[in-house]
Symmetry: C2
Subunit: 379 residues, 2 copies
C-alpha cells in the first residue's frame, strides 16, 4: 500500500529536487552582475586564490551524492538510473535536515578506478563527497583513495553513518544494562560496508571481544578468500571462533545484524549472556522480531524499521556530519569525528530506556549536536 | 566599478544556486514516501523500465553544465574552480529564463578522452548536457563523440547558441539591406568554437561565399597545420582567398567577428560592398566601435555588448533550446533545430531596423518561440 503510494507520490512531484537561483535576474544590470561581464572579475579572483571559491560560489554548501547503483537499499545492483530516486531522496534529507545542498551523481560505471577518477574530476564544484550504495569491497578502496587524493571530505554513509548511529545506540544500551564496553562480547552478522565499519568504530571506541560473520559463518584468518577488510577487523579482536551464528552468539552480550530477515531464533537469544542487546537492522524484515527477542529475554532491542522503537536510522547522523564538515571546511573525516558524533548523539537521550536509546529523526537539536561535535574535532 | 560590484554581489549571496526539495519531509510518513522504504518501489520500477526515470525523478528537467575551464569568457584557461561562478551564472539563466534545473560540473581534467568518459559516466541523472567554455578544437571532438555515444541531447552553447543568435540577426539584417543569403560574401574572423559553428550554420542556411580567418589570416587548404574543423568549413565555400583581414573584407557584404578588440578599421569597412553588415562580437571591446562602423557606411551593426543595440547574446537561445529538447525528450540536437530556432528568433522582430535586428534578452515569448521551434523538429 505504502509502496503504491510512493510511486504515485513520485509521479505527482516528477522528481524531488530542483535548482533555485538565489539571485534575481530581471534587468540587464542583474545579468551583468550575476553573469557577464561582472562575473569575470569573480573568476579572476578565484583563479588567483582558489579558497575564494568558498566565499564567492556555492561550493561551501554543496555535496555530491555519488552512487554507482550497485548496492541500493535491499535491492542490490539495480544500476545508476534506478538508484536516482534514492539519491534524490538522500539529497532531500540533506537539505531538509542539514541545510546542505546535495546533488545526485549516478555513475554509469562499476569500475573502481574509473569511479575514483570520475569523482576526482568532478570535485572542484563540491565542498564534500557523500558516497552512497556502492557495494563492498569496492567501496572501501574507493573511499580510501578519494580520502588520500582529494582535499575535500569524503564520507561513505552506508559505512560510517550507520556505524555512528549504532555506536550511539550501543552506548546508551550499555548504560541500561550496566555493562562496560571493554568487557562485552559483540557479534556482528554481515561483513559488507556497514558490518565492517561498525566493527571498526566499535573497536575504536573500546570493544575488544568481537566476532564478525558473513554468509559463510564466523570469519577467521585461515579461511580461504577472506578479503583484507574483513581480516583487518578480526585481527584487532581479542577473541576468535569457528562456526555459524548460533555458535557465535553463545555468551555474547550484543548482537548486531546488518544481514537478512529471520536469521536469529529465540534459542539463539537465550544462549547469549543475560541482558542481551539486540540490534536487528535487516530491512524490511529484521533478523528477529523485537517481540520475539524480548520474549527470549533481551534487555534492549533496536531495528532498522520506523514502526518499532529505537530505529537505527542514518538520517540521525549524515546531515549533522556534513553540516559540521562544511561549516568547519574540514578536509577529512577523522575517526575522532565519528566517535565524538556518536557520543553527542547518545548524549541527547538524557535517560536511556529500552524504548529509547537514540533520538527520533525529527527531534530538535540532533543536527546541531552532531555538527558541533564534528566542528570541535577541527578546531 | 561594475567589476567590484560583482565581487561584492557574489560575496553577499555566497553562491548563486541552491537545491530545493520539492517535497516536504516533516513526519515519518513523509520520510517513508520520499525515502525508504517507499522509494524502493520507485527504484524497482525504473530498473525494469528506465524511461520511467523521466516521470518519477528530476531527470526530465535537469541539465549538466559541463566545463573544464579552458576557455572561460575572455579569460582563457583559468581552470575548473575559477570557472565555477560562470557555470553558476549559466545555471541561474537556465532556471530564470527557461525553467531548466542546471547543475555546474567543473572538470579537473583537460584530456579529451577523460572528459568524454566522465560526461558519459555522470549522464544517467541528467536529461541533457550543455558543454560550456571548453577550448577548440577539443570541444568539437568532445561534442561529436558525446552525441554519438549518449542518448540524451548534447549542446555546446559557445558554438551553437552563438551561431543561432548570429543567424537570427543576419536573417533580419539582410531584410533591411534587401540582400539574398545565397549571393552575399561573408567574412568570419575567428576560427574557434564560435567561428566554426557560425560558419557551418550560415552555410547550412544558404551562404555560399564565405571566408574564414584565424590569427594567421585567411584560412586556405594548403596552409600548414590547418585543423580538420577549419578545413571542413572552407571546403564547403565557393570562394577562397589569401591574405589578411583587409584583403578578405574587400567587397564583402557581411563581417562577423568573434576575435579581438579593434581589429577592423574604418577603411576596411569602406572597402566592403555597400550596405555593410557588421557583427563585431569581441568582448569586452568589439572589433570596431558601432559609431565608427556607421560612420564608415555600415547599414547594420551588432555587438556582444549590452550597452549597444543588437546584442548577440546566447541567453536568447540556450534556455529555449533546452526547454524544447527536454519537453520533447529529444535524443539529439539536429541542424534543423538550430535553423528553425534561428528563424523563430528572427521572426520575433516584426519590422527589423538597424537598431533592432534581434529581441532583447528580457522580451516575452523568446523562450517559448525557440522551444516550440525545437519541438516541431522532434514531432
Amino acid at each position: 500500500m505504502l509502496m503504491d503510494d510512493s510511486i504515485e507520490f513520485h509521479r505527482k512531484y516528477k522528481g524531488k529536487l530542483e535548482i533555485r537561483s538565489k539571485v534575481s535576474v530581471k534587468t540587464k544590470k542583474d545579468l551583468s552582475l550575476a553573469y557577464t561581464p561582472g562575473v569575470a572579475k569573480v573568476s579572476e579572483a578565484i583563479a588567483k586564490d582558489s579558497t575564494l571559491a568558498y566565499e564567492l560560489t556555492s561550493k561551501w554548501n554543496t555535496v555530491a551524492v555519488v552512487s554507482d547503483g550497485t548496492a541500493v537499499l535491499g535491492l542490490g545492483d539495480i544500476g545508476p538510473i534506478a538508484a536516482l530516486p534514492v539519491m534524490e531522496g538522500k539529497a532531500v534529507l540533506f537539505k531538509e535536515f542539514g541545510g546542505v545542498d546535495a546533488i545526485p551523481i549516478c555513475l554509469d560505471t562499476k569500475d573502481t578506478e574509473e569511479i575514483i577518477k570520475t569523482v576526482k574530476y568532478i570535485a572542484p564544484a563540491f565542498g564534500g563527497i557523500n558516497l552512497e550504495d556502492i557495494s563492498a569491497p569496492r567501496c572501501f578502496e574507493i573511499e580510501k583513495r578519494l580520502k588520500e587524493e582529494l582535499s575535500i571530505p569524503v564520507f561513505h554513509d552506508d559505512q560510517h553513518g550507520t556505524a555512528i548511529v549504532v555506536l550511539a545506540g550501543l552506548i546508551n544500551a550499555l548504560k541500561i544494562v550496566n555493562k562496560d564496553i571493554d568487557n562485552i562480547k559483540v557479534v556482528i552478522n554481515g561483513a559488507g560496508s556497514a558490518g565492517i565499519a561498525i566493527s571498526k568504530l566499535l573497536m575504536n571506541y573500546g570493544v575488544r571481544k568481537l566476532l564478525l560473520l558473513d554468509s559463510k559463518g564466523i570469519i577467521f584468518k585461515e579461511r580461504e578468500g577472506v578479503n583484507k577488510y574483513k581480516l583487518e577487523v578480526i585481527e584487532k579482536s581479542s577473541i576468535h571462533g569457528l562456526g555459524n551464528l548460533s555458535d557465535a552468539l553463545i555468551d555474547a552480550d550484543v548482537f548486531i545484524g546488518v544481514s537478512k530477515a529471520n536469521l536469529v531464533t529465540k534459542e539463539m537469544v537465550k544462549s547469549m549472556s543475560k541482558d542481551q542487546i539486540i540490534f536487528a537492522m535487516a530491512n524490511p524484515i529484521s533478523e528477529i522480531a523485537p517481540e520475539t527477542a524480548y520474549l527470549a529475554g533481551a534487555a534492549v532491542v533496536a531495528t532498522g524499521r520506523s514502526d518499532f522503537p529505537n530505529q537505527i536510522n542514518n538520517v540521525l547522523a549524515f546531515p549533522g556530519i556534513f553540516r559540521g564538515l562544511l561549516d568547519s571546511r574540514a578536509k577529512y573525516v577523522t575517526e575522532e569525528m565519528k566517535l565524538e558524533a556518536a557520543k553527542a548523539l547518545a548524549g541527547l537521550v538524557k535517560v536511556p530506556t529500552k524504548e529509547k536509546i537514540i533520538p527520533e529523526p525529527f527531534e530538535e537539536g540532533v543536527v546541531d549536536a552532531i555538527a558541533d561535535a564534528v566542528k570541535r574535532c577541527v578546531e
